[in-house]
Subunit: 256 residues, 2 copies
Amino acid sequence: MTYQSADASGKSLGTDVLRARPCPHNAAASCSNCRLSDLCLPIALNKSEIQQLDNIIERNRPLGKGEHLYRQRDEFRSVYAVRSGSFKSYTLTSDGKSRVTGFYMPGEILGMDGIGTRSHGVSTMALEHASICEIPFSQLERLSHQLPNLQSRFFAIMGNEIVKDQQIHTLLSSYTAEQRLASFLLSLSTRYARCQRSPDRFLLQMTRGDIGEYLGLTLETVSRGFSSLQKKAIISVKSREIAITDMTALKAILGD
Amino acid sequence: MTYQSADASGKSLGTDVLRARPCPHNAAASCSNCRLSDLCLPIALNKSEIQQLDNIIERNRPLGKGEHLYRQRDEFRSVYAVRSGSFKSYTLTSDGKSRVTGFYMPGEILGMDGIGTRSHGVSTMALEHASICEIPFSQLERLSHQLPNLQSRFFAIMGNEIVKDQQIHTLLSSYTAEQRLASFLLSLSTRYARCQRSPDRFLLQMTRGDIGEYLGLTLETVSRGFSSLQKKAIISVKSREIAITDMTALKAILGD
DNA sequence: GCTGGGTGTTGATTAAGATCAAAAAGCGAC
DNA sequence: GTCGCTTTTTGATCTTAATCAACACCCAGC
């Protein structure tokens, strides 16, 4: 099997190929012909249900790198599905430092932090050129009320978000720096695999600082961690390019 | 205003009063006459809707201290509302250590970690004699489909859970031990206030070890932290009894 | 090409909290 | 009440990652 980012050359990590197509734009104008539909909101919906969902989704202009989708304290209107590119969500702490609460890749849902409070608890920014499906929440609620499958699906999505957050809680409260990095890379790897990209060769769209803010480490520790994993021949790093060369060893870091 | 745990004596923290009624049993046989109904699932529901919700809720026998409500990997069937007492949820890490993912007090909803995966991601145990309202999830879904207000309410509850988890994420990735403890005590304080109990005088139902596992600290650090806050005259600690003597200073620890 | 700001690496030192250890306190069972 | 267990406190030492600092890199714009 070959992936979009695959590269025949031995030495190089395939820089230009990775650069040229960080995550290809998904030109779908509707869920029905979107290649992410089997990992996004429409899972478990039938054709007619997808059609109705399609009708409430707004497909806005793409965002450039660094552009905000919404900001902390903005009024909550919609949840969003990533169509292409990637995003980070972050908050500012009382002393002005920022902390990353999550990274989002194609097919993933974001913005659910506003559902309960009606205002966004975090800011969300594109890490690269990216496009998004906006789902106005009042309409999603109305439609969920008509389509039990959609209601069920959205409960499941929120439940999975809760599980993911609990796993991060455990990670931050007991893992070492090296374990956190291993877990982070493995998470990216599975998520890239899910959207048909190589699970062992990818380009990080976030800085070392972003990763540190997410994992509760400083950027220096993140950098040292990558260097150390490379020295152990578990990964190969060249600035933002990561290749996982020993998946078994990487998993072993998280314990038997 | 006096609270259930209030105590006239000066020196003592009021041990026996606190002991005798850690959180009084809420004898409600239905949501309609439950004194927690304005902070629990029924918020925003009208009388007839509450009646219908009541019909699907199972009020089982109370649990003793240390008893499990469900265990990690159990099949997911229900979510639960705490009626009286308190609970902790925890996971076991790969190396056998346990990590606490949350504490739950009267009026709070737990068990939502199973909604997406259909199996519980954590175990949940009563920290004291406790009673619970069990809400079979398939019936909750069915009823939510009939009652838009209930659907909306449950979306909001899950959204708030996500926000809470993100706040913990930020806390664990950037706060010092002292800040984590201050934040923890303030959280308990507001939650006690919500169920009509004293916000500045309460009994911890969990061990120092539990608190440490929740906050990503060792039990020794938790103990030292309490001692240090006491030395600064911000709180008064006598084993499990906590009195917050300087609320302003406690909040100031979290930064201006 | 050069220049400059953001980004990344690496080294030296420090500090916060973990770990190891021992004793005290609290509490249930008898 | 005593016994035995769990929980809590406190002290001494060790370790990990933070902090401080310097330099290298990389791409964007001129």
